[in-house]
Amino acid sequence: MLKFILRRLLYMIPIFFGITLVTFVLFNVAGGDPAAQAAGRYATPDQITVMRAEMGLNKPLLNQYFDLVTQLFTFDFGRSWSSKQQISHLITAGIGPSLTVTFPGFVISLLITIPLSLLVAHKRGTFFDKATLVICLALTAISSVVYVLAGQYFFAFRWGMFPISGWDPSWDGRWQYAALPIIIMVSLSLGSYILFFRTVFLDEMYQDYVRTARSKGLGNAKILLKHVLRNALVPIITLVVLQVPFLITGSLLTESFFGIPGLGGLIYQAIQEADFPVIKAMTIISAVLYMVFQLISDILYALVDPKIRLG
């Protein structure tokens, strides 16, 4: 086991190299000279020169690559073009608000969808199954814009149940603002989660061990709860762990509509304003986060099912 973990840890080195390489190629090599864009429309040529030097763009590519790696290790990504803020500050300030919405939202979603999908899988082929399938597909076909707009309009404005938008950094004050975004996040994930878990459970139900259990005379419900759920835990844990990076980066639309100062809103704004350094930093950080959580998920996977040794 220890050997496996060690090997898996070592494997992170080439992956890390790959991540930095891909980001570097995308942003530094193919992305062109961004100094002029960073300096602003009416910047004078000497200001652009200053900018280029400050961004390290006049160095050879190899040095620029090392700069990128250094940035990651020192957690210093320079400044945003649009807000002029230190990107590392923007990121550390954004994690809390994002998680305030996504973490409870995710947990509630799981608590609702896992039992429901187990039921749906149990009733595979019946009208109930097909109706749920269609409803879930409908839920995923409706654009998330609609959930956000409608949620804000009806729950907050018409019925006055929640504040329309805003944020309070104190722990006591933030829940009133986070509540509606959490509800919206849960309704957004219902459809896709049920579809996903249904497939996971169905895949398990057609495994040999289920047939064996059934031939032993075990009841359907018992098989479902005892065997299927337990075995499906493996893909569920994988999903849960691999979702954590996305929880950290938050939700793009919800945050910008509700004025939540999280990472999702930061990314959304950066995309709108072509804020290269922020997009670059978020890309690289998300990738590293994903890599780390993939490692955790692999280790958990190996712990749960010792037969599996991932290479």
Partner: protein, 302 residues
């Protein structure tokens, strides 16, 4: 948050054609008896026909006809789904949006499947260093969040329809690649492959002529899954302003317009785009479900 990977759950299938009947004939026979699958297929074909007719200028020719006096008409007799800001027929625009979606869906998914199959086949067949390299590459790309990768890509290349297809294709081949790779690893030591080697077949011949047909059902299934993902991606990217060029009818643009127009209670543009997208996605998903059942012999005993 809709980032749950719904691509990777195709179970690894042991494939051996049933005696006397080929796998494909068998699957086709089973599929034909599935009512839902046939209806879904009919819907998909209907979309294709509609898109073709629209593109050929035979159907909904009024999609670009403006009538500034008749802006924002609610659904009614003249315009079944109302009109938009320039008095254009919303239904015609939604119908023409199908072309964009089908193009993005087809080319995005096709590109992903081709890359995934080739990389997976090479990786699984040869193993060793080549395998290590390819696995390293896709693990790397896989760690970078899809949406940011697409955003970065379209910033570099510039937005547009071909960028959209490229970006979607280049970022969504990994799940398929993994599956193909593991299938090839199983097949490369089978007797029939050794037999082919004995008869003097080269690597390329063994990969493409001998093994590939045995895993081709996975290509089909993943293409169908990728299609749905690509259609949905178009909508999200258009919303972010990274979609097709302005003026081209697209569901994503219609939904993006609705963000503002809902304030004046103009809901029909959004409804039409959602409606058109819903049935395409629904048909594809149901068909895909049936296709999987039909092509996956393990489920046969049911």
């Amino acid at each position: 948050m809709s980032t749950v990977a719904t691509q990777n759950f195709v179970p690894v299938a042991e494939l051996k054609a049933a005696k006397g009947r080929s796998l494909w004939q068998d699957a086709f026979r089973r599929l034909r008896h599935e009512k839902v699958a046939m209806i879904s297929l009919a819907i998909i074909i209907a979309y294709l026909v509609m898109a073709a007719l629209c593109a050929a200028g035979l159907l909904f020719t009024n999609y670009n006809v403006t009538d500034h006096g008749a802006a924002y008409l609610p659904p009614g007799a003249g315009h079944w789904m109302g009109t938009d800001i320039f008095g254009r027929d919303v239904m015609a625009r939604a119908a023409h949006g199908t072309i964009t979606s089908l193009i993005v869906g087809f080319f995005g998914a096709a590109l992903a499947v081709v890359i995934g199959t080739v990389m997976g086949a090479i990786s699984g067949y040869f193993g060793g260093v080549i395998d290590e390299l390819i696995v390293w590459f896709y693990t790397t790309v896989d760690t970078i969040p899809y949406i940011l990768l697409v955003v970065a890509f379209s910033f570099v290349v510039g937005p547009g329809l071909s960028t959209l297809c490229l970006a979607i294709g280049l970022t969504s081949w990994i799940g398929h690649c993994r599956i193909v790779r593991s299938e090839f690893m199983k097949h490369r030591d089978r007797e029939y492959v050794h037999g082919a080697t004995a008869l003097g077949a080269g690597h390329a011949r063994r990969i493409f002529v001998h093994i590939l047909p045995n895993v081709f059902h996975l290509v089909l299934i993943n293409f169908s899954l990728g299609f749905v993902t690509a259609v949905k991606s178009e909508v999200i990217l258009s919303y972010l302003g990274l979609g097709v060029a302005a003026g081209t009818p697209s569901w994503g643009m219609m939904i993006s317009d609705a963000k503002l127009e809902l304030a004046r209670e103009v809901w029909w543009g959004l409804a039409a785009a959602t409606f058109f997208m819903f049935f395409l996605v629904l048909a594809f998903t149901l068909f895909n479900d049936a296709l999987r059942d039909a092509l996956d012999p393990k489920l046969k005993s049911r």
